[in-house]
Amino acid sequence: MEIEPKFTARHLNFFYGDFKALDDISITINTHQVTALIGPSGCGKSTFLRCLNRMNDLIPGIRVEGNIQLDAEDIYASNIDVVNLRRRVGMVFQKPNPFPKTIFENVAYGLRVNGIKDKKILKQRVEKSLKQSALWDEVKDRINSSALGLSGGQQQRLCIARALAVEPDVLLMDEPASALDPIATQKIEDLIHELKKNFTIIIVTHSMQQAARVSDITAFFYMGKLIETGDTETIFTRPSLKQTEDYITGRFG
């Protein structure tokens, strides 16, 4: 498969009021690859992730400079439909956050928001998403019971199914496994390997081992700057910068 850029960020600066949280970030994120964002707490990983589907727009006093293109289209252009952008660029958070509704309704939610009413189509899409998120076999017999009765790991896969239901191109994951036990974590990681065939995935993680296991490309952020990016094998065996090496070998601070 040929490698094509999905996102291209150029000279991106991001401000919360006067505070510059991202400083001159330029990076290309490839289609059908998993890109891991690593770096110490507060370095701007989540901020950068939220720039990619303009989730930061909801925070008052923010300012963006530079540009980000999704499939060669400037996502901060004035004519961009932000709702559609967020459909194309789905997001999964650290803590599973299912709605207090049935499993079915959780997954169907985004479809209903997008105006799909046909029962048959809804059923098909919900089933497809649950299969893609490797949850179908575990819930197919209780699809109409409450999502809150699922385990943490199942809830997280449900949230992934919910994100996938609207057929996005990109999945942003902000520490998706940090609240999960090792077995549930492994399921999410296996799922990421599976999903990258059809989606572009960007994951924030604090676990070096997780970044090493799931990603193709690793980007190291420090104090709002992108310090080094490269293929994951290189970053974790022979990074070119000492700062990167010090961070991944735990010698930081």
Binding site: M208, Q209, A212, F236, T237, R238, P239, T244, E245, I248, T249, G250, R251
Partner: protein, 229 residues
């Protein structure tokens, strides 16, 4: 506060340095035993080998534990992998020292052969290579590591010279059958020693390659080096 892991890495390095020092000592004793026809010294090399073998096992143990419990990355990972490789080379060098010592024990039982200058030089080169290998590791000096290979050609040259000289001697030795058998046996034992010395040079070269891998993440194993540069 120093991280537990860093301390464990230091322990690994210290154990490896200890093994290197013992190996170097064994090699020096073996060659001295050969040169000075010193039986007691030769025996002490044979006896000392167990300690070196044990250190290799200890290093394997530390490495296994660090890999399993610490999941090291980048330079740490390369150092840990490099440490197992270097300890394997050291163990083999120590075996060569034992081999040299055993041959020397045989030679001590019989009157000496004529002095072989190429053998003195071979010992000197092999010793210099081993020294460079160990210091390149201690100093994390890739340049020194790369230069070991240059010496390898010199070692090969002297090995060949020893072989040729001794073959000539065997062919030319004319007197009675008994003397001839003794001559041949002494010559063959000496040739084996020269082989061991050459092998020590090869193993020292390998150590240099592992050092380059640890320090620079480069593989110089199959690289051509332009010595004129």
């Amino acid at each position: 506060m120093e991280r537990h892991f860093i301390k464990e890495l230091d322990d690994l390095k210290m154990t490896l340095l200890n093994m290197a020092a013992l190996t170097r000592r064994a090699f020096e004793k073996a060659t001295q035993a050969y040169l000075n026809r010193d039986e007691a010294l030769a025996r002490s090399v044979v006896e000392g080998d167990r300690e070196i073998n044990n250190l290799e096992l200890k290093i394997d143990q530390i490495v296994l534990k660090l890999l399993a419990l610490e999941q090291p990355m980048a330079r740490d990972l390369r150092f840990i992998l490099g440490a197992t490789k270097i300890s394997k080379e050291l163990e083999r060098i120590a075996d060569q020292a034992v081999n040299i010592a055993e041959r020397s024990l045989f030679l001590c039982q019989h009157p000496p052969l004529d002095h072989l200058p190429a053998m003195d030089q071979l010992i000197e080169v092999a010793d210099a290579m081993l020294d460079a290998a160990i210091t390149s590791f201690v100093e994390e000096n890739t340049q020194k590591a790369i230069r070991i290979r240059q010496m390898d050609d010199i070692a090969d040259k002297y090995t060949l010279e020893v072989l040729q000289t001794l073959i000539d001697k065997m062919v030319k030795s004319t007197p009675g059958a008994e003397k001839r058998i003794l001559n041949t046996r002494r010559a063959v034992q000496t040739i084996i020693i020269s082989r061991c010395l050459e092998r020590v040079g090869d193993l020292a070269t390998n150590i240099g390659e592992h050092v380059a891998f640890i320090v620079e993440a480069i593989n110089i194993k199959h690289q051509k080096i332009d010595f004129d540069e």
